[in-house]
C-alpha cells in the first residue's frame, strides 16, 4: 500500500486516499491528428519495469491531481510534483539519476 506525499497539501497520503490516473506527461491529440498519433495518445503505454511517471489524485484529501516518479518494480518513490507541467522538473530528474545512474529518459 503506497504512501505518496501530496505536493499541494503536504499530506503523506495513503493509497486509499488516492485515485490513480495512469501515465503522466501525455500530449493530447485532438481533431486533425493522424490515426497513429491519436492511437498512441489514447491507448499505447510503455508500462516500463522501473522508472515511471504517473498521475495520482489526492481524491479523499485536497482533491488535487499530482504527478509521481516511481519505480514500478521496487516501488521506490523518487519524488512527487505538481501536475501543471509538461515534463518532469529538473529536481525530479536529478533525484532519479542519483538513484538510477543508468536510467535515461525515453
Amino acid at each position: 500500500m503506497l504512501l505518496l506525499e501530496c505536493p499541494y497539501c503536504g499530506v503523506k497520503a495513503d493509497e486509499t486516499e488516492l485515485t490513480p490516473g495512469g501515465e503522466a506527461h501525455l500530449k493530447r491529440f485532438g481533431p486533425g491528428s493522424t490515426d497513429e498519433a491519436f492511437e498512441e495518445y489514447l491507448f499505447l503505454r510503455p508500462n516500463p519495469k522501473g522508472v515511471h511517471f504517473e498521475r495520482w489524485r489526492h481524491a479523499h484529501g485536497c482533491g488535487k491531481w499530482f504527478l509521481a516518479a516511481r519505480d514500478t518494480a521496487t516501488l521506490e518513490v523518487f519524488g512527487t510534483y505538481t501536475a501543471q507541467t509538461t515534463e518532469p522538473p529538473e529536481h525530479i530528474i536529478d533525484a532519479i539519476r542519483a538513484k538510477r545512474p543508468d536510467w535515461s529518459q525515453a
Binding site: L3, T19, R28, L42, R55, W65, E76
Partner: protein, 1004 residues
C-alpha cells in the same frame, strides 16, 4: 497415553478448574490450558482427521503451525471452523468439535480413502479431470465430495462484533520472545515509538521452556523484568494475543488481535484488525521445528520434540509414559531431559548422526538415557496411537534392527527461521548450509518508498538459533535499524544469555536414507493435505521441476498451515529427486497472512447499517414515513415507488404515472448532480466538456447537453443552466456526479491549468422537486411569490430565480416526462418544507409523489435515453440519434477526435429505435434481436438488443427501446427477439417516441 502430570506447568493454575465439551463429551481443564493441552490432559490424543485420507491425527505442535488439531468452535451464530486447538485458550463452557470425520472421529468411513491411497497420488484431481468425464462424475466426484473439505461453513449470521484500529509508529516488533523484548528495549530506550505484538498471551517465547539463563538469571525472571521496564515507557505499546499478519508496501502492516476469543462473554469486539503505518518492522518471529520424514510419522502420538517439551513445562501434560526421541540435532535432547525430569521413561534417543557428544547428549546420558547414534525409525506400530517403533540404520534401506515399545515419539528435524515477514515485500533469502535453512539475505531486504530496507530480522528469525547468539544479534540489528530512523541507541551493555553449546545438525531429509517406495509412501510431508515423500517424487518424475508448480500439483503447503512444517522438507525431497541443490530449487512465495485471520476482522465495523455511508435527501424522512419502497442509487437510496395499502409495486408505479400524466406528480430530484462551473473561461471550458455549444447559452436559459470521454463514448447527460455570464450550473446523473466532477477537475488541473475556471459540486446544497403534470403551473402559482411562471415569461428551457411562496427558489422549466414540468430547487434546509407545501397546495389536484420507476417509464414513453440503459461505455451519441446535440461548429471538444475514427463513422452501426411487440407484451430486458446464421463460436448471430423495456400504463402495452443494426432505416420491419426459454418474441421497429411525439404537452 497422554495425561496431566501431578506437578509442573508454568502457565496453568490448577486451582481453577474449567469445564468444556469436545464432540459433545464433557471434559475438565484448568486455567491457562490451551484446548490442545486440555485434550491431551484428558488422554484425548486423536483430535482430527486428515483432508484426503481421513487418517486419524493427533496434535503435532504446540503453536500456530499446527496442521492437525483443527476444530469447529462455538455454536450457532458463534460457530467458527478451522480453529487450531494449540492456539485456542481454554475457557469455561468452551465447545469444540473435531472436523473432517463421518460418522465419528474414532470410526470414520473416509478412512477407506487411505486404503485407496495408491489410486489418489499427486495430481490426482488433474489426472482425473483429463480422463473420460463420466469416470469423474460417477465414480470419484461423489466419494470426494462426501469426504473432502475442512470445517463446516457457519450457517448463521456472525453474532460477534469486530473493529479496526489505526496506528502510526516508528517500529513494529513482531514477536515477544527474548529477541522481541530485547529489541523493544533497545528501541524504547532510544525514544522510538514502538508497537510490540506477541501472537500468544505470553511473553518470553521458548527461552523459559528451554532453561536459558539471561544475565545470570533464569529467562523467566529476565522476561518479567524486561516487560516491566517496557510497560513503564510511554513510547512503547505492548499487545499480547496480537499476530503481525502481513507486511505490505511502504511500511504498511496488518496485525490481528484476538481480543475476546478467550472471554466470549466480555463486552468487547472479538477480533481487532490493526492497520499500521510504520517506519520499520522488526521480525522477531523465532523459528519453527521441522518434522522428520520417517514411515508412520503422522500417527497420533508422534509429535514435534519442542511441542512435547512445551506441554510438559508449560502445561504439566505428558504425551506418553514411554517416549522415544528421534532427532538429527542436539536441541531435541532437551525434550528427552525434560521427559526424564518429569519422572517418565525415555527408552532411547534415536540420533541419525554418526555421533552425539555435546553437552546436551552428555547430560541425557548422565540421566541414564540410552543414545542410539546412526539410527533411524523404519516404522511406527499402532493404528490409532503408537505402541512401538522399529529402528533401523539411518544409512541403510530400513532393515529392522530392533523394536522399541513406546507410546509416544518426539521428533526433530532441525529448525527453520520464520522469515515470512521478511519475505512478504520481497526480501530475499540465502541457504545456510550449516543450519540447513533459509535465512534473510541482509544485502537484499524488502525496500520502502526511499529505496532502503524496512524489515529487520532479529534472533532466531535471522538464523541466530542458539540462545547465546540471540541477544547480541538482536541488539546489533536493532541498533542498526535505529540509526536508519534517526534514533540513537542508549548506552547499555549487550545482555548475554547462556545455554549449553550445541553441535551442528545433520541434514536428514528421509529416514532411513535408502527407504524404498513402500516406506516413502508412508512418510508425510504435509500432514493436513496428506502429501507424502512419494507424491513429491512422483511430481518431479512427471516433470514438475518448479517448486511453485510442484506445490500446486501435489497441494504441498497449500493447507491452512501454509507449509509451515512441510516447506523445507518438501523442497529438500524435490531437490533430491531433481539432483539439484536446495537453493537452486528455490522456495515458494510467502504471502500474508502469517496464519489465517477471520473474515469478521477484515470487515471490521463495515457491516449492516454502517457497511457504507448513506446519503439522505432533505425529504428522506417523509419518504420513510410514507412507505417508500427503496432503490439504491450509488450511496443514495431513492424511492422506487410509494405503494399504498394492498398495492403491488407494479400497481403503485402505474397509479403514479397515470396521476402525473392526468394531473400532478411530485418527484424528489434532490439527488441529481449539480456542479457549478464558474470563471472568465467557463464558456470555453464548457464547450470542451460538452458535445454541443454551451458558450452561446444565454443567462436565464437551459440547454440539454452530452458529455463524452476522449474515446468519444457517451458518459453523462443533463441540463445546463447559465446562471450568469461566467457561471454555469451543470445537472448530471445521480450516479455520475462524483465521477463527472472528477473528470472536470482532471482536465482543468492537468491539461488546461491556465484557464480561469473553478468547479464546485453543490449537489447536497440544494433540494430539488420536479413538479410535473398538467396542473404543475397551477400548484406553483398557488404558492405565490414573485416569479412569473407564465408560458411567455418562463418558456420551456428557461429558468428563473426568486420567491416561491416563502421559499428562495430557482425554477427550471425542464421536462424528463414530456409533461408540463418545473424543477424547483431550494436551499437544502427548505427542502422538506417545500415538499410538504407542494403536497398541501396540490391536494386539490391529487398531487401524487412518484418514484424512480415512474420516472423511468415516463422518460421511455417519451423516447428519452438513460445513461446506463441506452449507454454502456461503447455507445456514441450518434448511435442514439443525438447528432443534433453535437456541434459541427466547434473545432474541438472531448470525444470529437474519437468519434472520427473509422469504426465510429461506419454507417452500419447499431442505432436507437423504439420496439413494439406484435402481441403488446413487454419484451424481456436485455434480449437480443436474432439474425441469420451463426458466428465462429457456433452462437446465433444477432442484429440488435433491447436497452429499456417497460409496461406503459399510458398506452396500456409493452414499449421498449433498443439498439438495432441500421435501425432508423428499417422502420416497420419486424424482428425476432430471444428469451431465456425456447420462445421468441416478435417486435416491430418504430420511433422511440411513443407518447406525444409533437411535444405539445410539455410546451404549454
Amino acid at each position: 497415553m497422554s495425561t496431566r502430570l501431578s506437578t509442573g506447568g508454568r502457565l496453568i493454575d490448577r486451582s481453577r478448574q474449567l469445564t468444556f465439551t469436545f464432540n459433545g463429551k464433557s471434559f475438565k481443564g484448568v486455567e491457562g490450558d490451551t484446548l490442545a493441552s486440555a485434550l491431551l490432559a484428558n488422554s484425548q490424543t486423536i483430535m482430527g482427521r486428515s483432508f484426503k485420507y481421513h487418517r486419524p491425527r493427533g496434535v503435532m505442535t504446540s503453536g500456530a503451525e499446527e496442521p492437525n488439531a483443527l476444530m469447529g468452535l462455538g455454536k450457532g451464530a458463534k460457530f467458527e471452523p478451522n480453529q487450531r486447538a494449540t492456539t485456542t485458550e481454554l475457557f469455561d463452557g468452551l465447545t469444540a468439535e473435531s472436523q473432517n470425520h463421518w460418522p465419528s472421529l474414532d470410526w470414520d468411513i473416509g478412512e477407506v480413502n487411505a486404503a485407496l491411497s495408491r489410486f489418489l497420488p499427486a495430481g490426482f484431481y488433474y489426472k482425473t479431470f483429463i480422463h473420460p468425464r463420466p469416470f469423474w462424475k460417477h465414480v470419484f466426484e461423489p466419494v470426494i465430495r462426501q469426504s473432502a473439505g475442512l470445517g463446516k461453513v457457519p450457517k448463521e449470521r456472525d453474532a460477534d462484533r469486530y473493529e479496526h484500529f489505526y496506528a502510526h509508529v516508528d517500529v513494529v516488533i513482531a514477536g515477544g520472545g527474548i529477541a522481541g523484548l530485547q529489541s523493544a528495549l533497545e528501541a524504547g530506550r532510544a525514544g522510538a515509538r514502538v508497537l510490540l505484538c506477541e501472537q500468544t498471551p505470553h511473553f518470553g517465547g521458548r527461552a523459559p521452556v528451554d532453561g536459558v539463563s539471561i544475565d545470570g538469571k533464569p529467562a523467566e525472571d529476565w522476561v518479567a523484568a524486561t516487560l516491566s521496564e517496557l510497560e513503564g515507557m510511554d513510547n512503547v505499546h505492548i499487545r499480547p494475543r496480537t499476530m503481525v499478519a502481513g507486511v505490505y508496501d511502504h511500511g504498511y502492516v496488518i496485525a490481528y488481535e484476538r481480543v475476546a476469543d478467550h472471554t466470549p462473554e466480555a463486552d468487547a469486539p472479538r477480533h481487532r484488525l490493526w492497520r499500521i503505518r510504520t517506519k520499520q518492522v522488526i521480525s522477531a518471529t523465532g523459528a519453527l521445528e521441522r518434522p522428520l520424514s520417517f514411515p508412520g510419522n503422522d500417527k497420533p502420538g508422534v509429535m514435534l520434540a519442542s511441542a512435547m517439551r512445551d506441554y510438559i513445562v508449560n502445561w504439566g501434560v505428558s504425551a506418553g509414559d514411554r517416549t522415544v526421541v528421534v532427532t538429527n540435532n542436539d536441541d531435541a535432547y532437551r525434550t528427552a531431559i525434560a521427559i526424564k525430569q518429569a519422572g517418565l521413561d525415555v527408552p532411547c534417543i534415536v540420533d541419525a548422526r554418526p555421533e552425539a557428544n555435546g553437552a546436551l547428549p552428555d547430560q541425557a546420558r548422565a540421566l541414564g538415557i540410552e543414545v542410539k547414534t546412526g539410527m533411524g525409525i523404519a516404522g511406527v506400530k499402532g493404528l490409532r496411537g503408537v505402541v512401538a517403533v522399529k529402528l533401523c540404520r539411518q544409512a541403510g534401506e530400513g532393515a529392522v534392527v530392533e523394536e522399541v515399545v513406546c507410546d509416544a515419539v518426539a521428533m526433530s528435524g532441525g529448525w527453520s527461521p520464520v522469515v515470512h515477514l521478511w519475505s512478504h515485500c520481497g526480501g530475499k533469502l540465502n541457504w545456510d548450509e550449516a543450519g540447513a535453512f533459509f535465512r534473510p539475505d541482509h544485502a537484499r531486504p524488502p525496500t520502502s518508498h526511499d529505496g532502503a530496507g524496512f524489515v529487520t530480522c532479529v534472533g532466531s528469525s535471522d538464523g541466530a538459533l542458539y540462545a547465546a547468539e540471540v541477544l547480541p544479534n538482536t541488539s546489533a540489528a536493532t541498533r542498526g535499524m535505529l540509526g536508519q530512523i534517526g534514533k540513537t541507541a542508549a548506552d547499555a551493555p549487550v545482555v548475554q544469555a547462556d545455554a549449553p553449546d550445541e553441535a551442528p545438525l545433520a541434514p536428514i531429509w528421509m529416514m532411513p536414507q535408502g527407504a524404498g517406495p513402500k516406506k516413502r509412501a508412508k512418510m508425510w510431508l504435509d500432514f493436513q493435505n496428506d502429501v507424502k515423500v512419494s507424491d513429491v517424487q512422483l511430481a518431479a518424475r512427471e516433470g514438475y521441476e518448479s517448486v511453485e508448480h510442484t506445490k500446486r500439483y501435489t497441494t504441498l503447503g497449500m493447507a491452512t498451515d501454509q507449509g509451515k512444517l512441510s516447506n523445507i522438507n518438501g523442497l529438500a525431497i524435490l531437490a533430491g529427486e531433481l539432483n539439484a541443490a536446495i537453493p537452486q530449487v528455490g522456495t515458494t512465495t510467502f504471502r500474508p497472512p502469517y496464519t489465517p485471520i477471520s473474515m469478521g476482522a477484515i470487515a471490521g465495523e463495515a457491516r449492516g447499517d454502517v457497511f457504507q455511508p448513506l446519503r439522505r435527501t432533505p425529504m428522506q424522512d417523509w419518504h420513510e414515513a410514507n412507505g417508500a419502497h427503496w432503490e439504491p442509487v450509488g450511496q443514495w437510496r431513492r424511492p422506487y415507488c410509494f405503494p399504498r395499502d394492498g398495492e403491488s409495486h407494479r400497481q403503485a408505479v402505474n397509479r403514479e404515472i397515470t396521476a402525473t400524466r392526468n394531473s400532478l406528480g411530485l418527484l424528489d430530484a434532490s439527488t441529481l448532480g449539480k456542479i457549478i462551473v464558474k470563471g472568465p473561461d467557463a464558456g470555453r471550458f464548457m464547450d470542451m466538456l460538452y458535445t454541443n455549444m454551451m458558450s452561446t447559452l444565454k443567462p436565464g436559459k437551459c440547454r440539454y447537453g452530452l458529455m463524452c470521454s476522449e474515446n468519444g463514448f457517451l458518459m453523462d447527460d443533463g441540463v445546463v443552466a447559465r446562471l450568469d455570464e461566467d457561471t454555469f450550473l451543470c445537472h448530471t446523473t445521480t450516479g455520475g456526479t462524483e465521477s463527472i466532477h472528477a473528470h472536470m477537475e482532471d482536465w482543468l488541473q492537468c491539461e488546461w491549468w491556465d484557464w480561469k475556471v473553478y468547479t464546485a459540486n453543490v449537489t447536497e446544497q440544494w433540494a430539488q422537486v420536479a413538479v410535473v403534470g398538467p396542473n404543475a403551473r397551477k400548484v406553483l402559482q398557488k404558492l405565490g411569490g414573485d416569479i412569473d411562471l407564465s408560458k411567455d415569461a418562463l418558456p420551456f428551457m428557461a429558468w428563473a430565480e426568486g420567491k416561491l411562496g416563502a421559499f428562495d427558489a430557482r425554477v427550471f422549466r425542464i421536462s424528463f416526462s414530456g409533461e408540463l414540468s418545473f424543477e424547483v430547487a431550494v436551499p437544502a434546509s427548505q427542502g422538506r418544507a417545500l415538499w410538504e407545501a407542494l403536497l398541501d397546495a396540490g391536494a386539490e389536484f391529487d398531487a401524487t409523489p412518484y418514484g424512480t420507476e415512474a420516472l423511468h417509464v415516463m422518460r421511455a414513453e417519451k423516447g428519452f435515453i438513460m445513461i446506463g440503459d441506452e449507454t454502456d461505455g461503447t455507445v456514441i451519441p450518434q448511435d442514439l440519434g443525438l447528432d443534433w446535440a453535437i456541434s459541427k461548429k466547434k473545432d474541438d471538444f472531448l470525444g470529437k477526435r474519437g468519434q472520427q475514427r473509422s469504426h465510429m463513422t461506419d454507417p452500419a452501426r447499431w442505432k436507437l429505435v423504439g420496439l413494439e411487440t406484435l402481441d403488446g407484451s413487454v419484451l424481456p430486458d436485455g434480449s437480443y434481436a436474432m439474425a441469420e446464421g451463426e458466428n465462429a463460436n457456433g452462437q446465433g448471430n444477432t442484429q440488435g438488443r433491447v436497452t429499456s423495456t417497460y409496461y406503459s400504463p399510458t398506452l396500456d402495452k409493452g414499449i421498449a427501446m433498443g439498439l438495432v443494426l441500421n435501425g432508423p432505416d428499417r422502420m416497420g420491419e419486424v424482428l425476432e427477439f430471444n428469451t431465456t426459454g425456447d420462445r421468441t418474441v416478435k417486435a416491430r421497429i418504430v420511433s422511440p417516441v411513443f407518447y406525444d411525439p409533437e411535444g405539445e404537452k410539455q410546451n404549454v
